[in-house]
Symmetry: C2
Subunit: 304 residues, 2 copies
C-alpha cells in the first residue's frame, strides 16, 4: 500500500517583491510529496534529476519518509531548471528561464517495490508521461488525482483529454477550467469537465479558495486570508499533495472525506507561501498543521 | 423601532448578453429595501423620484410593507436614470447614460415618523448626503451600515472618510478596499480600514463570496456558484439590504449574528441576479429564501 507521486524535482530561481533566491529545490513532485508526507508515511516519488542535484536534498526526502527509489539520477546531465518573477499582486508571474535538461526525455520507470500503489498523484507534467505511469502500474490505483495546466491545453489537448479520461480527480485553476470547457460559468465548466472522465473536479481559485464538484454536489472551501504572501511557488502542488495524502490516510473515497482533504491541502498551501520554496513546508509540526486547520474551521463556520 | 434605507430609487436600462430592458425600476434603496422586507416589516425608505415615477411602483413598495412617506416626488422633474451594458464575463460593465435629474439637489428630509430608526442602511449615494441623514436623526441608530463605491473615493475622499468614521459597518468590494487602504492584501487593507471608524468591514468579492472583518476575527462566506448570472444589477444593494434586514430581525449586534446576516444577504443576492432588475426579488416566498440559505449551508459545511 503506497502513495505514488510523479512530477518534477527541479531547481527554481524565484524573484518576488520580497526578495530573490539563487537556485533552490522545487518542482511539483517535491512540493506534493512533502505535503503528502504529513499525512501518510508510505509516500514514494517518481521523477528525474541530473547529477547536479545534491545528495543531501535527496536525503531530505528520506527524512520525511519519502521513498526515492524511483528518483532517477542522470549522470552528466542537469536537472530541470525554472526561473520566474512574480508581479506585485503575486497573482501573475513571468517565466524568465525554462531549461528542460533531464526532463526532455524523461521515461518514468516504476520500481517493482512501487507496484503496491493505491493512491497516485500525477503532478503537472506532459499528459503523455502522466498516462504512461498509469499504464505501467499493474493494478489500477484506488484513487488517481491529476494536476495539469493551461500549457498542455495549448499544445497537447488530445493527449490531455486521453489522460483526463483515466483519472478520478482533476485539479485545475479557474482560468484553466474555463479554457478546457469553453464555458465562463464555473458551474457549466464543471458540468462539461465531469463528462470527460473524472468523477471529481477541484477548481483552485488561489486567494479565493477552491471548489469541489461531484455529480450535483458542490463544496466551496475558503482560502485563509493572509497578510503577506511571500512566495506562491508550489502552492498548487502542495495543495494537491496534502489532498491526496489526507485521502490516503483516511482510506475511504467519498465526497465528505474529499471536503476535509481540501481543507488540509489548503492549510498546507497556506504555510507553503509564507517562505521561499519548500522552507516552511519542510519543518512543520503536526500541531502547527492542526492549528492551521482549526483556523479554517473558525473562518468558515456559521450556525443557522 | 424601524429600519431606515436611504439611497436611490431610479430607472435603469440594462443590457446583458442575455437581453436588454427598457427603463425598469432600480436604484440602491429599491433593492436594499425589498431585500430587507423579507426579514423585517418596519422598513422605511428615504429617496427622491420625479413625477415620471409610476404610482403603481410606489404601491409595490407598500405591498412589501415598505413605508414610502420619506419618498419625495418632485413635480415636473425626472427620476434618476442609469443605463449600462455588461460585458460577457458579467464582472465588468460600461455606463452608457447617467442622468442625475432629481438626484442633483436631493435633500434627504426625514419624516417625524421615521425618528424611531434603530437600523440605518446608507445605500450608495454621495457621502455628504449619507452623513446628513445620520445628523438629522435625533437618536443615533443602534446599527449604521454604509455602502459606497470607488467613484466617491475618486472625487470626494474627504467627505467619504468623514462619513465612514460615523458608521458601524462598511460594505465595499475588494478593488475598493484596496483603493481605500492603498494595500493589496485584503487582510492589511481591512486592518487599515478598521482604524477609520467602522467596527465591522464587509469586503464583497462577487462570485467569490464575501469576507467579514472585526477586530482579529475573519469570516469567509461563499457565493453560491451559479450556472447563469442573468443580470448582476443591484446584487450588492440586495446583499446589504438582506444583511441589515436580518440584523434588525435578530436585534443583537455581534459577530455571530453578522455571519448569518451575510449568508441571508448572499442568498437574496443570488436570487436577484437570476432575472432582470427586481423581478425575482419581488416575488420570493419565505420557503424559497430558507431553501436557498440551506444550499449555502450544504455548500460550505465540513466536519473535521
Amino acid at each position: 500500500m503506497s502513495l505514488l507521486v510523479i512530477g518534477t524535482v527541479a531547481f527554481d530561481a524565484i524573484e518576488t517583491p520580497f526578495g530573490k533566491t539563487d537556485k533552490i529545490v522545487g518542482g511539483a513532485a517535491t512540493y506534493a510529496s512533502l505535503a503528502a508526507s504529513y499525512f501518510y508515511n508510505k509516500t514514494k516519488i517518481i521523477a528525474v534529476v541530473g547529477d547536479d542535484f545534491p545528495q543531501e536534498d535527496i536525503e531530505s526526502f528520506n527524512e520525511h519518509h519519502i521513498d526515492t527509489e524511483g528518483l532517477q539520477v542522470k549522470k552528466g546531465e542537469n536537472s530541470f531548471f525554472w526561473s520566474g518573477k512574480y508581479h506585485n499582486d503575486m497573482n501573475s508571474r513571468d517565466t524568465l528561464v525554462t531549461e528542460l535538461n533531464v526532463l526532455a526525455d524523461f521515461d518514468p520507470i516504476i520500481p517493482e517495490s512501487y507496484q503496491d500503489c493505491e493512491y497516485l498523484m500525477l503532478g503537472n507534467l506532459t499528459p503523455q508521461i502522466q498516462q504512461t505511469v498509469i499504464k505501467r502500474l499493474k493494478n489500477r490505483p484506488k484513487l488517481i488525482v491529476m494536476d495539469t495546466m493551461n500549457f498542455w491545453m495549448d499544445i497537447a489537448m488530445d493527449d490531455l483529454l486521453q489522460t483526463i479520461k483515466m483519472v478520478d480527480v482533476l485539479t485545475i485553476n479557474d482560468a484553466e477550467a474555463r479554457q478546457l470547457s469553453g464555458e465562463y460559468s464555473l458551474v457549466k465548466a464543471a458540468r462539461k469537465i465531469l463528462t470527460l472522465g473524472p468523477k471529481y473536479l477541484i477548481i483552485k481559485k488561489g486567494e479565493h479558495g477552491a471548489l469541489l464538484f461531484h455529480e450535483n454536489h458542490i463544496f466551496s472551501a475558503p482560502a485563509l486570508p493572509l497578510a503577506e504572501v511571500f512566495d506562491p511557488t508550489g502552492a498548487g502542488d502542495t495543495f494537491a499533495g496534502g489532498f491526496i495524502g489526507y485521502m490516503a490516510k483516511v482510506g475511504t473515497i467519498n465526497f465528505n472525506n474529499m471536503k476535509n482533504a481540501i481543507i488540509f491541502g489548503s492549510a498546507l498551501a497556506s504555510f507553503c507561501v509564507e517562505k521561499f520554496g519548500t522552507e516552511k513546508l519542510k519543518n512543520l509540526t503536526p500541531q502547527e498543521v492542526n492549528e492551521r486547520v482549526q483556523q479554517f474551521v473558525e473562518l468558515s463556520s456559521f450556525e443557522i
